[in-house]
């Protein structure tokens, strides 16, 4: 039976892991390769690095970090943030990423999804969607959540799938940083709409939140950052909690 995945996410700026609230007030929390290995030892099913460097220099630093991580990490590594073309994706894959997530570039130039899927296989192509509620629907934001678009998040997820996305990394901007739990209605809507796996992200404050999103929505994976980075919970504790409640985990 396919198990549900727990994915620690490392926001990386200039090669260092940071954590902020609603995309601002960033604090440094550690070295990405060591953190990734520690999470693997705890039972993490996958690791995500999101590069939030503002400069080209910072992004180059990330590729070195990916290389040294890939040499000692034996669970899948997804790299995202600042990917602007198929060539950027190739660079990240060659540096050691197993999957690459695209966000802004996919909104601006959706055909990049198909190009990447064709060359690298669709299982490598993750489309990251930052969504914010407006009334009864959700709009897609780009540029690290700074720019609103007119795209409907649910429709965009379906389109990304049709273009060749292998997975959707869905972040609720309303929930992100609040620690009040995942955005269940948003996650459920997207997971119903698409047939590819959906990773829920944003809002995780405790193990119960992970249980809720994995048992009440069609999400296949839950991503979390601060609960792991600050040592509030280990991945193993989360998995024990889920297992006791009948959620299949490794």
């Amino acid at each position: 039976m396919l198990t549900k995945r727990i994915i620690p996410c490392l926001d990386v700026r200039d090669g260092v892991t940071v954590k902020g609230v609603n995309f601002v007030n960033l604090q440094e929390v550690g070295e990405p390769p060591a953190m990734a290995s520690a999470y693997e030892a705890q039972g993490a099913d996958e690791i995500v690095f999101l590069d939030i460097s503002a400069s080209a220099e910072g992004r180059k630093t990330l590729m070195h970090v990916v290389e040294s991580t890939a040499e000692r990490l034996f669970v899948p590594l997804t790299v995202g943030g600042g990917i602007r073309s198929k060539e950027d994706m190739r660079t990240a894959l060659n540096a050691g990423a197993d999957k690459v997530s695209v966000n802004t570039v996919a909104v601006q130039r959706p055909e990049v999804i198909s190009e990447c899927a064709q060359d690298f296989g669709r299982q490598c192509v993750v489309v990251a969607i930052d969504a914010k509620r407006e009334g009864s629907s959700w709009k897609v934001y780009t540029h690290g959540g700074r720019r609103r678009t007119d795209k409907d998040a649910i429709e965009w997820a379906a389109m990304a799938q049709d273009l060749g996305a292998g997975e959707i990394l869905l972040t609720s901007m309303d929930a992100d940083g609040t620690k009040d739990g995942y955005d269940l209605p948003l996650t459920e809507k997207v997971a119903e709409e698409v047939d590819i796996p959906v990773i829920a992200s944003g809002g995780c404050g405790n193990a119960q939140h992970i249980y809720e999103v994995l048992s009440r929505t069609g999400a296949e994976a839950a991503l979390a950052a601060s609960i792991f980075h600050y040592g509030e919970l280990t991945v193993k504790q989360v998995k024990d909690y889920l297992r006791e409640r009948g959620v299949p985990v490794r």
Binding site: T3, E67, F74, R90, D98, G166, P197
Partner: protein
Amino acid sequence: MPVRVAIADYGVGNLHSIRKALENCGASPYIVEDMRELLEAECVVFPGVGAFDKTMERLQPIKSGLVRRLEEGVPSLGICIGAQILFETSEEGRQPGLGFYRGKVVRLKAERVPHMGWNSVRTDDLILRGVGSPYFYFAHSYYGLPSEDIAIGDTDYYGQVPTLFLKNRTYGTQFHPEKSSESGMRFLRNFVKFAEAST
């Protein structure tokens, strides 16, 4: 002498993990960019990166020689797409495969595709000897459906999917041992021992 393992580099994707994993398992891996070098190798790994056609484009020129080596029993391992290209055809691509494994690669029939994440593998084969928890990482939309008796393990995903193959001395895995943490390392250690015993 550690067994020398040639890892085929088709020009896309991450070979760091498989190289490092094989090293940790006592082998002496090296990356091969010129596919002709595979014909001289004492052990070959076809890594699990890329798409079917792109991969076969690289292998097509040495196809008959390579199949002869596999038939002769050179110990090898195909991972994910690297296992799929061992079959005759694939619904994913237009290029023919190597045709060493009889059968075809077909699209998964499931509510969610790709089959992505950790799932268990059932087998009696010794290649999983010592694996405590038989969960491995999968990321695929297609799988090999053999027309000969080479499937030695399977996995539940909307039905039984063959996920482990063996013909002569060529193992094929639909999962990624190099991404499967402790279980994967154990698998690769067993494979390296198998290769040592075969060379």
